[in-house]
């Protein structure tokens, strides 16, 4: 396990370094269109070829990594925090709070949020900068993505409420927020970590789908989601295998994240 953890650490650091060094590694930038060579295969000049508009794919992956790797975990953090708040707190408090939270969560899971997103786009000015649109997109994703795990958390917290060590802690005088933070919340970690880890790729992919509504990362800014959506038109992977690189990169980074996160849970 130590080997795996070291390897994971190296990978994550390497990816971060590459994306931070994008300005040096891909000086032409992600937007420049090499119009004489659209859809070109990998070459000396373009390590992963060019996309259908002649933009260097390697540069787009590097710059896209910055955005997605920074914002998707941030959004995942928001949704995890909300899940802990609604699900965990409600389960801990029990009674009417639990019922209300469960009802609210179930309703939240069922509503067509597509229309809220369309309305948000309508409320935003048309000329918002790509960076702002990205921030807003991931913020919304974080605010909407907590419901499923909140439901599981409410069950976890509910069972914890009546468990021996919580009763013991209460008996010894610990109450309210401190009890929640010190004894209950740490025991909710399995679900919270799972939620965090799953949310990262889900949000990266959702951001691309939001492009259909005018939210999401605005052109010419690249994002992993839009790079992954390129795969949709690919009927034969054998023809252009380099197009799978963003997918492999994401899988590798995600696996590395999980290996780093699971320090406590995995038995020796």
């Amino acid at each position: 396990m130590k080997v795996a953890r070291t390897l994971a650490c190296v990978i994550v650091v390497a990816v971060c370094a590459l994306s931070l060094g994008a300005n040096w590694l891909a000086p032409e930038g992600y937007a420049k269109q090499f119009r004489e060579a659209p859809g070109a295969p990998p070459s000396h000049q373009h390590l992963l070829g060019t996309d259908e508009l002649g933009r260097d794919r390697f540069a787009r992956i590097l710059y896209g990594t910055r955005i997605s790797l920074l914002l998707a975990p941030a959004a995942a953090l928001i949704s995890t925090a909300l899940a802990a708040l609604v699900g965990g707190l409600a389960g801990y408090l029990g009674g009417i709070w639990l019922k209300l939270a469960r009802g609210f969560t179930d309703l939240f899971l069922s509503l067509p949020w597509l229309f809220l997103l369309i309305t948000v786009r309508a409320l935003l000015p048309l000329n918002v900068s790509p960076l702002v649109s990205v921030l807003i997109t991931f913020l919304i994703l974080g605010l909407l993505g907590w419901a499923a795990s909140a439901r599981v958390l409410s069950t976890s917290a509910d069972s914890l409420r009546n468990s021996d060590f919580v009763l013991q802690a209460r008996a010894s005088g610990l109450h309210g927020p401190r009890l929640f933070l010190i004894h209950v919340l740490p025991n909710l970690k399995p679900v919270l970590y799972a939620q965090f880890w799953i949310s990262i790729p889900v949000f990266i992919l959702s951001e691309a789908n939001l492009g259909v509504l005018g939210l999401g990362v605005a052109e010419p800014l690249p994002s992993w989601g839009s790079l992954l959506r390129e795969l949709e038109g690919l009927i034969s992977f054998r023809e252009e295998p380099w197009r799978l690189v963003p997918l492999f990169l994401l899988i590798v980074v995600l696996t590395s994240f999980q290996t780093l996160l699971s320090s406590e849970e995995v038995t020796a």
């Binding site: 048309l126 000329n127 492009g211 259909v212 052109e219 038109g233």
Partner: protein, 549 residues
């Protein structure tokens, strides 16, 4: 012994010959089989008078019988249900002589009162039929007079330009049949319909047309239409042999298919469709005043048009299967296209010169207007059209080279529509125009300044500019005349004004691309819709394909 042997020999030869004869007649008869292709959306209605969307139009083309048909290949008029027709000198009246003894698909007889019934229903203003509205040249009622079982006269309150061609859109309905819209005169009729999934069209047993050998048309037994919006899946199924044709093929798929099976794809040359963008010129639109001033300036619009590299758009987005567009009519429309006009070549220097004339100047790579506002605007377009999204990114870079910052906003279609036709909270928009009609009279509601579809500034109470007033005058002239030469003169001038003033900045005319599988015989893909199955009644499926199903 010899007698029996020779007898057997003769018997054998006879058997062989008769088997060959049977086989060859079976091959010649070649009847039957099921043609399969996809509709990209759900047909919204089966009522032929209310049809407006592509899928319903396809169904109407295959099931509806019309009086006059525009041959999609030669663009000439052909007599269908009407044996002959005559338009009066003033263009207000058309008299039809119908064919005898025809029947609807349920066996009920076809006669002149069915035509009268259809026209009356079509022209009822409460119906709000777009086909009917196309005939509405002036206020007043349309009258029909049945002279005999096979003669009917339709009279309009004012002259209708291109009157006979318009009847290609009018599918005759039965006045008496209990099946109402289910009784049709076309080669096929609606069989089984599974909403959201598929539609089966069966051969109309009472279809009147016969081929040169006297055999009843259509050759096909049925047509199976799948409702599939996703083009990747459509392409996959075509490659696997589950579909027989793709009516409108995307450029990406065309090239991919052409590299493996070039005999299956067809590029019929420039179509009638155009892609274009325009700027919001509405007087009280909720956009900053200084931006509105830019959009209302002809120099600004012409400069944008010059700064766009249309050759790159054709080459990169369409891989050469498109050409730069110059106006509302594509060169494929040979009669109506003003051949003196040429699409703007990419010329950033000329663009900057025009902008300078309006007081714009460059500063540190950014273009500023005369009040030092940086030139920045947004282009809305509908998400889901990959070619348009790609064109907008190329345009973003083209305009970036002359210091203009463009923000691209793909939107879902209803939101886009609301912005461009109701709320006017947009700055620039990019859309495409699917032109089904050769005659520009169908575009009246785009060019009249008081009309709904005058996209950059609709529903004006009075024309706000001199050139829009001139366009109004010219369009009305061509609508009220029936001399094609005079109409062409007027419309040529309209095209010139549109080029000079650039209210629409035309980008490209896409080529008509389609794919037809090897099992289909008789297909002749063209540019007029429906491109591949316009002669569905004469299409056949060859034997090998039939055996494998």
């Amino acid at each position: 012994m010899t007698g029996r042997r020779s007898f057997l020999r003769i018997l054998f030869c006879f058997a062989l010959l008769s088997a060959l004869a049977l086989f060859s007649t079976a091959a010649i008869a070649q009847n039957g089989g099921q043609l399969r292709f996809c509709l990209r959306a759900e047909p919204k209605t089966f009522d032929p008078l209310l049809v407006d969307d592509d899928a319903s139009l396809a169904v109407r083309y295959l099931t509806g019988g019309v009086l006059i048909r525009v041959n999609r290949h030669t663009q000439d008029l052909e007599a269908e249900l009407a044996e002959s027709w005559k338009i009066s000198k003033d263009g207000k009246q058309i008299a039809f002589k119908l064919r005898h003894g025809l029947r609807f698909s349920d066996g009920s007889p076809f006669a002149a009162d069915d035509v009268a019934f259809t026209m009356q229903r079509l022209m009822d203003p409460a119906l709000h039929s777009s086909t009917g509205d196309a005939f509405r040249s002036g206020t007043g009622t349309v009258t029909t007079k049945v002279l005999s079982a096979d003669q009917v006269v339709v009279t309009f309150p004012a002259a209708v330009a291109g009157l006979d061609r318009l009847f290609d859109q009018v599918a005759i309905m039965s006045a008496h049949s209990p099946k109402k819209e289910g009784a049709v005169l076309g080669p096929f009729m609606v069989g089984e319909y599974k909403a959201g999934s598929s539609l089966l069209l069966e051969r109309n047993p009472y279809y009147w047309k016969k081929d040169a050998q006297g055999r009843r048309l259509p050759y096909l037994d049925s047509i199976h239409l799948d409702i599939q919006a996703n083009r990747d899946v459509e392409m996959l199924r075509f490659k696997r042999g589950e579909l027989d044709l793709i009516n409108v093929l995307d450029t990406d798929y065309f090239d991919r298919l052409a590299s493996s099976s070039p005999q299956l794809v067809h590029d019929a040359g420039p179509s009638l469709d155009s892609d274009f963008m325009w700027f919001n010129q509405v007087a009280n639109a909720p956009i900053p005043e200084y931006r509105r001033a830019w959009f209302r300036s002809t120099n600004f619009r012409r400069a944008i048009s010059l700064a766009i590299n249309r050759d790159d758009l054709s080459r990169i987005v369409f891989n050469g299967h498109a050409q730069p567009a110059v106006g509302p009519v594509s060169p494929a429309n040979k009669f109506w296209f003003n051949s003196k006009l040429k699409a703007d070549a990419h010329n950033p220097q000329a663009a900057l010169a025009l902008l300078k004339a309006d007081g714009f100047h460059m500063q540190n790579g950014t273009l500023l207007d005369k009040n030092s506002n940086p030139v920045e605007f947004s282009i809305v377009t509908n998400a889901g059209s990959k070619p348009r999204e790609r064109m907008s990114v190329l345009i973003q870079e083209d305009l970036g080279k002359i210091g203009i910052k463009v923000n691209l906003v793909p939107l879902d279609f209803p939101s886009l529509l609301e912005r461009i036709s109701q709320k006017f909270n947009y700055e620039a928009a990019m859309l495409g125009f699917r032109n089904v009609d050769l005659d520009p009279n169908g575009q009246m509601n785009i060019w009249l300044s008081s009309a709904e579809d005058h996209a950059w500034n609709p529903k004006q109470k009075a024309p706000e500019t001199a050139w829009e007033a001139e366009i109004d005058k010219l369009m009305r002239e061509q609508a009220s005349s029936i001399d094609p030469k005079k109409r062409k003169q007027s419309f040529d001038r309209v095209q010139e004004i549109v080029y000079e003033q650039a209210p629409f900045i035309y980008l490209v005319n896409q080529n008509a691309l389609s794919a037809v599988s090897g099992s289909v015989s008789g297909a002749n893909p063209g540019i007029l819709s429906p491109q591949t199955f316009w002669n569905a009644e004469r299409l056949t499926l060859n034997g090998t394909a039939r055996a494998s199903r």
